[in-house]
Each structure stands twice: as C-alpha cells, then as structure tokens.
C-alpha cells in the first residue's frame, strides 16, 4: 500500500506546524480504516485528518494544503468539495458581505468562467481589489447544492499579478415559454440595513426585524421549453425593459390601489405565455438575466415539416 504511505506523508506534512506526527503512526491509522474497516481511501483520509484536527484544536481552514503546493486549476475544472487548489484569477465583482463574519465576497474569473469566492474576517487577509488579477494559493473548494465556490482561509497566499487574467464568458442561455411568475416578484421592499438587501416579508427582514423597506423591482420567473424548466431573475432594469413599467410607475400603481400586489399581477399579464430567450450567469437555482429577447419572430415550420415528412 504505497498509496497510503503517500497520503500519510502528506498528512504529516499538513500538521507539521501543529503536531509531532510520524509517518508510520499516520499510516497505521489509515490502514486500520482502509484494510480492516473497508473505508474508502478518501473517506479514511478525511477521518484521520479530522481526528488530528481535534487533537490539535484546529479548524479545518486553519490547516495548510500540504507540502509542495496544490494543483493549479481553472475554475471550470473544480468539481469536488473540499479540495485544496491554486488559482490565477481576476476579481470580477465584489458584493456586500452581508454578515460581519465575512470579509469579502464576490466573483473571481479566469478563462474558464467565473465563480463565487468568500474570504472570512477571521482569516485576516489583505483585501482584494475589483478588476485586479491575483495568484491565490491554498484556497479550498466548497459545494452547495451542486454549485461550487472557493473559500480563502488564513493559509491562503495572495500575490498580485502584473498581467491581467482573461475572464471567459460562462453566461448561460435558456429559452422557453414564460409559464409562471413566482411570489416575491413585482414591487418588493428590501431591508435598508447597511449591507443587507434581503427582501422583506410583511415589512420584516429575517435578520433585522421590522424595518422601513426600500422599494425595488424584480421578477422571478419560470421559463419552460416543454422538456425542462429554468428559473430566472430579472433585476430592476431588466424588469422595466421586460414589462415597460418603471419603479416610479410601479409605486404610483401601488399607491392608487393601496396594494403592492397589483404591480406583480399587471406584470404577469404582460409577460406570462410569451416566449423568451435570456442570457446571464447562473447563481444557485437561478439564471440572473443580463440580456433577453422576446421570441416573436416566425418559427421555422419548414424544418419541422421536413422532419415530419421523413418519418
């Protein structure tokens, strides 16, 4: 089992600053799990590492990725949770952290596309600037409901690059009939607290309680092509372009009716049942609409006829 010995050496190296381990000890622990208890190697390694973390009183993100650095990967290649990797990326977008435990959150990109990144306050890292390219070594991949992100941690080293990293386009394009507008669409109110943009439910923010909300427009819609459904979000600008209703007009409509829901209803009347093609990045379940068009041109009946006649 030369393989286990390699894992053992890497683990010893990872803990070299914290624990005085011997490769033999580590290997023995791995062997017990793998040979005796039939645990897969990856799981055995995770479990042994966790045991040593406990022993050393460390959190996982305080641990280095092991000797010799990590594999340098493209964002698009990341397909596994909790991998230590090195990246060369450009900071595309910085968002409001929204919580005091988060120092920075946003999007980084390379030629393969973009991905969310998070840096935690406790990691005490130097700040990343939007539009600047960096080599980031020792970042950890994270997965939530099939979506990957990268987490910076206190062992991450950040080196500003002289050259600019090209960011590839990973926008998704989906089309179909707009079959539904979900609740929380139309004229909504957001929490005005610094850094919080949560949508209020009955005037309450789930974090800050009763607040005076700020009006905003958005549409959460479902596009359905008969084979699959896609959830998409139109922000204020896109919503106005889609429905021809501006934020001011929406507020007037709501004031007149003494009810904000009339806005969503009017919007639904104008868009449900039409065909659209939208483009934008995917975040979680949603495609965030950057561009869209209504598919109102003539469909290609001839191509389908040719197919039908050949059947």
């Amino acid at each position: 089992m030369a393989d286990l010995r390699t894992h053992a050496e890497e683990i010893r190296e990872q803990f070299s600053d914290h624990l005085d381990l011997t490769v033999d000890d580590v290997e023995e622990r791995l062997e017990t799990l793998v040979d005796e208890y039939r645990v897969p190697v990856d799981e055995a390694r995770r479990s042994v590492v966790n045991a040593y973390l406990d022993e050393a009183g460390l959190e996982r993100d305080e641990l280095g990725g092991g000797a010799g650095g990590n594999e340098q990967v493209l964002l698009g290649e990341i397909d596994e949770d909790e991998q230590w990797v090195d990246l060369r990326v450009k900071v595309v977008d910085l968002w409001d952290p929204g919580h005091e435990s988060i120092a920075q959150v946003g999007l980084v990109g390379d030629e393969s596309g973009t991905m969310k990144f998070v840096a935690f306050t406790t990691s005490d890292l130097s700040e990343l600037d939007e539009g600047t390219s960096y080599a980031l070594s020792n970042v950890v991949t994270d997965e939530y409901q099939g979506n990957f992100s990268v987490k910076l941690n206190r062992t991450t080293s950040i080196t500003e690059l002289d050259e600019e990293v090209e960011v590839g386009d990973d926008a998704d394009e989906v089309e179909g009939a707009l079959v539904d507008i979900q609740s929380g669409s139309g004229l909504i109110k957001r929490c005005p607290e610094e850094g919080c943009t949560r949508v209020l439910q009955n005037g309450r923010c789930s974090e800050h309680g009763q607040v005076d909300g700020e009006f905003d427009l958005r549409i959460k819609a479902v596009l359905d092509d008969g084979e699959a459904v896609h959830e998409v979000i139109f922000d204020e600008d896109a919503t106005t372009e889609l429905t021809d209703i501006s934020l001011d007009e929406a507020k007037e409509m709501a004031q007149e009716a003494l009810d904000t829901t009339v806005v969503g209803e009017e919007m639904a009347d104008r868009v449900v049942g039409r065909y659209y093609r939208v483009r934008g990045p995917t975040l979680g379940r949603y495609v965030l609409v950057d561009e869209f068009e209504q598919l109102s041109g003539p469909a290609d009946a001839e191509a389908v006829l040719i197919k039908a006649r050949s059947m």
């Binding site: 997965e143 449900v272 039409r274 003539p298 039908a308």
Partner: protein, 205 residues
C-alpha cells in the same frame, strides 16, 4: 453535499388538442396523496402540466351557485376545454374579462371526468390565462409539432415506459399524431401564403 430537497417543478408538456383529448388515463407514481397526478399522453409521455396557445372562441359561465367559467380554445387539431372557478381566481377573472375571439396562452393541469355514459372527458384546469399575439400562437404550433414528433420518434424505444403504458391503455395508432402535426404545420404555411400572396402582383394570363 448536493441534496435536491426542493421538489422540482413539473414541466409543461406541449400537446395538440387532438392528442390531449384522446387521453383518458391518469395515474400517480407514489402513494402519497399529494403526489403529482399525470395524464398519460397517447404518444407515450406523462403530463402533469400543459402549456397551450390557441384561439378562445367561446366562453360561458356554467356555474350554478358560484361563477364557473368554461372556455373553448381551438388549435389546428381540435378544441381544448378549460374550466376555471373560485379556486382559480386569476384564470376565472381572465375568462370573465376576455372577449372572444382572442389568442390566449394557458398554463394548466390536465383533469379528467367520467360522463354519464362512461366515457372520459379531458379538460384543463388553468393556472394562468393571458392574451398573446399571433406570432406567439404560430411559434407554439411549430414547437408543439416538434415535441409531438419527438415523442412519436421515441415511441418504439426500448425502455420507454410511458410508451409501453400507452400501448396497454390506449389502442391508438401513433402515426395519426404525426399526420396531425403535419396538417397543423401546413395550416401555418397556408396562412403565410395568403398573407404574402396578397402583396404579390397577379400573374397575367
């Protein structure tokens, strides 16, 4: 961990009225009483939801105690019957206010009921009814023809369990749905020729 705890939304199938009305068998795929109810389409697909676009030709309040609207929506192959009452307030008010004839788009759920003579009628319980333009209607016809042909093409595939179910439940030749799709597409062609023909100079004899 990737866990899909969010129940996925049912896709809206594209089916012409002719095929839709030939369906009669509905089923659920689990014992949970809230499990989705599917109409078995004769071309071998399950439909919990449909999206259709056609011409609303008639509407009538057929309710006794409370409003219950019935709309007839016509496509190139037949007529969809759409029923909306107090539990579909948006759709009911849309039907109340619409003036036929009008092109409408409907998202809804298939429902079946048995008539006194034992035959099964299929209708649509709408989630939404909106007015659309002729281009949207034409696009739907082409799209629905394409989806229908896809289903017919897959009908003899091994492992197509809904096709197997359709063979057991219905004794219907699937080729007829290919023919219906072709006629539907040709009906668009004719309209186009009529529209463009009027602008062309009449050939001299």
């Amino acid at each position: 961990m990737s866990q899909q705890n969010i129940p996925s939304r049912e896709v809206a199938r594209r089916v012409f009225a002719g095929e839709f009305n030939d369906g009669s068998y509905t089923f659920q795929e689990s014992d949970d009483e809230r499990a989705p109810l599917y109409l078995l389409l004769p071309t071998g697909e399950r439909a919990n939801r449909v999206f259709l676009v056609g011409t609303l030709t008639e509407k009538e309040d057929v309710g006794e105690d409370s409003e219950y609207w019935r709309g007839r929506i016509v496509d190139p192959t037949g007529t969809f019957f759409v029923y909306a009452g107090q539990y579909q307030p948006e759709a009911a008010s849309a039907l109340r206010e619409l003036e036929p004839p009008a092109y409408v788009a409907v998202v809804g759920k298939p429902r079946t009921y048995e008539t006194d003579d034992g035959s099964v009628n299929v209708s649509v319980r709408p989630e939404s009814i909106t007015t659309v333009d002729a281009a949207t209607r034409d696009r739907w016809v082409v799209e629905t023809a394409e989806r229908t042909l896809d289903r017919v093409e897959r009908f003899d595939d091994e492992g197509n369990e809904y096709a197997r179910m359709a063979r057991e439940r219905y004794d219907l030749p699937v080729e007829s749905y290919t023919d219906a799709a072709v006629s539907a597409l040709e009906s668009l062609d004719e309209n186009d020729e009529l529209a463009s023909g009027s602008e062309e100079p009449t050939p001299q004899a």
